[in-house]
Structure formats: C-alpha cells, structure tokens
Amino acid sequence: MKIFVTVKQVPDTTGKVAVNPDGTLNRASMQTITNPDDLNAVEAALELKDKLGCKVIALSMAPFSAEVMLRELIAMGVDEGVLISGREFGGSDTFATSQIIAAAIDTYGVDSDDIIFCGRQAIDGDTAQVGPQIAEKLHLPQVTYAGEIEKDGDTLRIRRMLEDGYMTVKVRTPCLITCIKELNTPRYMTVRGIEECFDKPIRIMDYQALKDHPLIDATTIGLKGSPTNIFKSFAPPLKGAGMMVEGGPKESAGKLVSMLAARHMI
C-alpha cells in the first residue's frame, strides 16, 4: 500500500503582501509556506502510515527551491519526496498541472489499495481544481472536502462537508481525497526526523523522466498545453477613505447615528 500526497509551496497570502506597480505580485517580499490544506493531507497520510505501516510519497511540481519543503515533510514522517521540475512544465494551468502530476503518480503505479491525498485548494490560486483533475486523468473516484475519514479494509467512509451540512460517502481504494483543515491537526517535525531528513531520497522527475508517459506531450503541458490563458491581471481598486467621526464613544456614536439618519440609511 502506498499513499501519495500532492503538496505546493505558496506565498503566505495571509501575511504581508506587496503588489508591484504593474499589478504583479512582488514575490521577493513574501514568505513562502507549505500550503495549509496540503499539511492536512500530509497528516491524513501519516495517520494511516502510523496505523498500517504504508509508504508515504509526497509530490510537488515546483522549482528546485521547493526541496526544502519536501525535506520538512520528510522530517514529519513522509518516506519519499518527488520534485517534478522542468522548464517545459512552466506556465501550466490546472489542466496541464494535473496532467503532469498524474503522469508522475502513474510512473509509480496506482495499486488497488493506494490512496492519493490532496489539499482542498492552494491559497495562492484558490482554484481547488488540480485534485479532481488528477483523479479524472487517473480514472479514480474522488471525494473532495473531506472532514472525517474512517478506513476499514479497502473501504473508506468519508464525511464530505457541504455549505449547509455534510454527506457521508463510501468509496473503495484506489481513490483520491481532498482534505480540509477540519480533518486533523498537522503534526510538527520531530528532532529525529530533522536529523534524518537529509538521508532520505528526493526523486527528481524532469521532462526527460516523464516525456514517454501517454499523458505527456507538448500539446498538453506547460503554457502551450494550458487551455486557459491570462488575458489581463490587475489590482482591485481601493475604495476611497471616508470620514473619521471624532469624539469619545458617546459623542462619536451620536454623530454617526445622526449622519446615517440624514442619509436615510437607518
């Protein structure tokens, strides 16, 4: 049994974010983190590993700098890191990205008791598309928004969260599951894990390694293989500041209510 986990290194959009004058993101000024939902996916995999002793493989399509992230995941308990990296993969949208990651997973082969865990979505793009698209490319069933997972033999019972409640879904392995933060609390790296993480393998999969896979050709990967293109990007306008209502609590509250009444807002 193997568990694959897809992970992404993202700019920390919850912290300080700087936008260049031309409307692009100033990445140099931002910290990178492992995408939060992906850590829940890693934790889900490691919990099964604790119980069942299976192998956990973390895959990331990223520049070489993402090796650090994979080492950190190994220090948490992941067995093997895969860095899918190549100029040919650059500019991929979710369709092309899922094509490449699916090919990488398929290089290992998906056995009947294997599971793929993904985070629900990455905080940079917020698309939530790559997980389901990998599942489609690999012809696997998918369950998204997993808030609880119980495994019994080859059957998984998953609480799939909806906006107004949840549904309980039964699915058999092999399958792909996307994880939300309510699923678990990701563990920390262990001291021993940190000591050992540099001895564990990081496998590099570049274009040469994947090019013979049926899912990979020039028309389905990278910028040219992406069905969607960015037409324009821009920053949203800031709404102009209004007025500050001066005075102590009582005075300012009174003034505000009078102004709202005058505008017929209340």
């Binding site: 959009t13 409307g23 940079d124 698309t127 549904m167 039964k170 821009f234 300012s252 209340i266």
Partner: protein, 371 residues
C-alpha cells in the same frame, strides 16, 4: 462519441448547470441563469439550463422566469443525491451531444467538485470562482474602468491569438484578493467557469418566461456501476446557518473582541438586531474558533454587499476587504487608527468597541424613539 473540444466553431449557446439539493434549487442557480442570460444576449444565442435530479420537473420551469430558453432535465433515482461520477457523466455526455460554447457552474462545494472533473474529461479550460463575466468588450472595459487600477485609455485589448470580442472573459480574485486576473479559454470549448455564490445579481422573476421555457428530457444511460462512490446519508446542519448574502445589514466581529469573546459577540448581535441585520466575522475570528465558519466574510468566506456593513475590531486584511468592500456604506470601529479597514470605511470611529457599541445601540434607540 465524436467530440473535439478544439473545433470551436461547432459550439453554440450558453449553459448553466442548475444545482439542486433534495429537490430544492440552490439560490446561486438563479444568479447564474440571470448572468447567463446577459452573456447569451451578448452573443445572440440561447440560454439553456441543465438540471439533473430525481423528479425535478417541478422546479425546472422557474428557471425560465430568470431567463432560460430551454432546460435539459434528467430524472433518475441515481441522480437524487450528488455523486461526482453520475453528475459528471450526465454533464459531459450532454456537452458532447449539444456542444455549448459556455458552461457556468456555481462555485459551491458541489460545483467545485464537478466542474474540474468535467473540464479534464472534456479537455477544456475552467476558471475557478469567478466574480465577473463578460463577452461584450465595451462591458468589460467599463468594468475595468471602476473595477481595476488599469488605465483603460492606454491599455491594449487586442490579441493576435484570439478574438477578444467573442471570447468569454472570466475575472477572478487570486492571491487572497491582492490581485485580480481575467482568464480566457480561446482554443477550446466550452469555456467553463465556476461562479462565486452571491456575486451575480438575480433578475426580477418574469412569469411569462417561466411559461415559455421549453423542458427537454433527452435519453441518457446511467447505471449504478457508473458511480464509484455511494452516498450513505445527507445531513443538514441542525443549526440555522446565517444568511449573510441576503442580509441588508451585517455587523462583523474580528480579533478586537479577544478580551471578551462572548461579550463581543453579544454586543454585535444586539447591534445587528437593532438594525435588522445579522452577525458576520473575519477569518481571524473564525480560525480562532470564536464563531462558526458560516459567519465568515472575505475571500475564503462569503462575498457580501449589504446596505450597511459594520466592522467591529477588524483590522481589514485584504482578504477580508475582498469580501465586503462593495458594501454600500461601511462603518469601522477599531482601537488602532492605522488599521487598514479605515482606508475603505465611509465612517470610521477610533475607539474601543466595548465602549462604542453600547453607545451606538443607545443612540439608535433614541433616534427611533424620536421619530
């Protein structure tokens, strides 16, 4: 089935996936039908709904009242509850048969499960969680005039690669709302978009349209073997979820209630009640576990545009602003005069919300009493 998503001239009409749960149409469906009508008019084509479910003819006709010309209805016990496999098969098979040029899906937890699966199968592009859609170029440029930092007079909009006037322009926030991007899908059809609930305006209901709409029941094949997942039960949250999107007034709380969480929420509730509104929250308050996620306003929560939005102890992270900055009147109360929320507030009060809000409630009551 012969299907080539790159043969774009073979595709015509605008489609909306009509999401229902337990036989009740999701409100977003009406928003999407309304928006789809606009796009269909810009292209001079028909608007079709596609409605899978079990015994859902009764709710199909209403779609005509919001602008649908035709609705494809698929009834089967296998479609009673949403499963990825059954719904994806119905939707993809229908697209391959009828070839729509645009397909809109609500960005609900179901729509965002279904749409990417279908886009991958159909080999086409999908833009996630859109907040603005245009075909018409003038409409798009007008949108940018007020909705962006671009100088539209000096921006070039032509493209050598595709016809900007006929392609759907799908605009969405990214990077937590710091950036907006307009996405196109020029080489494949249908151009697919999931659309954020609560953003598109619902048209007034037109009874004549509901009379006129044509319901179609195409033949389809679907068996239990097609569905690799099985739904054991569907549970609605026992608690009534807060209706942020429909609210005229929202009073939201943030980190500023930390020193007395229960007291802060109680004050917000009291103020909301006085104004006939509901309580919202920032991501910080939800992440801290102070209030449930259905209250969350912002990029990862709900997008709202009430008449009055009151931010109590919310600093105004850009991801929060992305969800509320289109409110008609924004009022902010914050101890920190440098809080970014004041940059977009119509009225700002620098002060402790625990002191200001009781005074606001008192002043509102006095104002009402004086009328």
């Amino acid at each position: 089935m012969e299907f080539n998503s790159a043969d774009i001239s073979a595709f015509k009409n605008v489609w909306v996936f009509c999401e229902q749960r337990q036989g009740v149409m999701m409100p977003t469906t009406f928003e999407l039908i309304s928006e789809g009508r606009k796009l269909a008019d810009e292209l001079g084509v028909e608007l079709w709904g596609i409605l899978p479910g079990d015994d859902v003819d009764g709710i199909a006709r209403e779609l005509g009242g919001y602008g649908a010309d035709k609705v494809l209805v698929y009834n089967s016990p296998l479609l009673k509850n949403y499963t990825t496999d059954a719904y994806a098969k119905i939707l993809c098979d229908a697209v391959m048969t009828y070839k729509p040029e645009i397909l809109l899906v609500g960005a609900s937890n179901i729509g965002r499960d279904l749409a990417p699966r279908c886009a991958a199968r159909l080999h086409t592009g999908l833009c996630a969680d859109c907040t603005h859609l245009d075909v018409d170029m003038d409409g798009y440029v007008n949108f940018l005039r007020t909705g962006s930092n671009l100088d539209v007079e000096t921006t070039r909009f032509e493209s050598k690669l595709f016809d900007v006037r006929t392609n759907l322009k799908m605009t969405r926030p990214a990077f937590g709302g710091h950036l907006m991007a307009t996405i196109v899908c020029p080489r494949f059809r249908p151009a697919m978009a999931t659309v954020r609930p609560g953003v598109m305006k619902r048209r007034p209901f037109d009874a004549a349209g509901a009379e006129r709409v044509e319901l179609l029941h195409p033949e389809f094949s679907l068996s239990a073997e097609d569905c690799k997942t099985q739904v054991l039960d569907v549970v609605k949250a026992a608690r009534k979820l807060v209706d942020l999107i429909g609210a005229d007034v929202i009073v939201s709380v943030g980190r500023g209630i930390a020193k007395d969480i229960e007291g802060g929420i109680a004050l917000a509730e009291e103020l909301a009640e006085e104004l006939g509104g509901v309580v919202g929250a920032s991501r910080a308050a939800v992440d801290a576990g102070w209030i449930s996620a259905d209250h969350q306003v912002g990029q990862t929560g709900k997008t709202v545009h009430p008449k009055i939005y009151i931010a109590l102890g919310i600093s105004g992270a850009i991801q929060h602003k992305a969800g509320m900055q289109d409110s008609e009147c924004i009022i902010a109360v914050n101890k920190n005069e440098a809080a970014p929320i004041f940059e977009i507030a119509d009225y700002g009060i620098v002060g402790d919300l625990f002191q200001v809000v009781p005074e606001l409630i008192a002043a509102l009551r006095a104002e009402k009493a004086a009328r």
